[in-house]
Symmetry: C2
Subunit: 146 residues, 2 copies
């Protein structure tokens, strides 16, 4: 689906690796991927693209607003295609699955809180960590919600 025009619009010249990576981000069944994930999936597809290029291109994509980089707890950065719809994330610490959500009231309050301190927000990150439905042994939620 993605083609040269997407890269051009982002101010990046068209190259094979960039196209391949962009296409992978769109077509992979996995929406939130580490650089390593991207690299491995390219290898699996017999694409000959170096890991350094994957990191470089993902960083360029981030700069161009094509992807969003997240820092979930415990290690590597995670990238996802930027579809223009902001959302936040719930991360299951048991299975690693990532769920997206958007809550206008939370977003609104963030602005309010910042305004009260004369703070000019230009970005924010909100991650909820816990155990997803599928991974819960007993049906109950034992943990305290901090």
């Amino acid at each position: 689906m993605p083609d040269k025009s997407d890269l051009k619009k982002a101010g990046l010249k068209t190259t094979v690796p960039r196209l391949k990576i962009l296409r992978l981000l769109e077509e992979s069944s996995q929406r939130h991927m580490t650089a390593e994930d991207v690299y491995r999936q390219l290898l699996d597809a017999d694409e000959d693209i170096g890991l350094a290029t994957v990191y470089r291109v993902l960083t360029q994509f981030e700069g161009a607003g094509l992807v969003i980089r997240h820092h979930f707890e415990g290690g590597s950065s995670v990238f996802e295609l930027n579809e223009g719809k902001h959302h936040d994330h719930m991360v299951c610490v048991e299975c690693g699955e990532v769920f997206e959500f958007f809550d206008p009231r939370i977003e609104e309050r963030q602005n309010q809180v910042a305004a009260e301190s004369d703070f000019c927000i230009d970005d924010h990150s909100l991650y909820l960590y816990g155990v997803c439905k599928g991974m819960k042994k007993n049906g109950k939620c034992s943990k305290k919600t901090v």
Copy 2:
């Protein structure tokens, strides 16, 4: 101010490095510090404590609930004393200063959102990034609030 009893209560034996680090965390003018920050401030105070020990002790303190570890954008972990009052953070990307806040409505909505997905929260992180009052050139907030 902090003494052996604080460590004992946390299930940690009393040692000089642990006491020194705990004292530093309480007395430093900086509330949010990297391991490197702690190490340097100990050096400045002529305390002979290795960087490895700083990392090890901070991690032990985290496990014991004495400190909280944060992952602000762009690199190293940041530690702060756990005073028992949960709060979130605004980080100024110009001067690096960290401001704390707590908004019950945001906290409440987080629980609601999680409950709707049958997700059992056991932790969360919310960071607002932007420019603080003191660093704003013109009085206006030019950035869009995402």
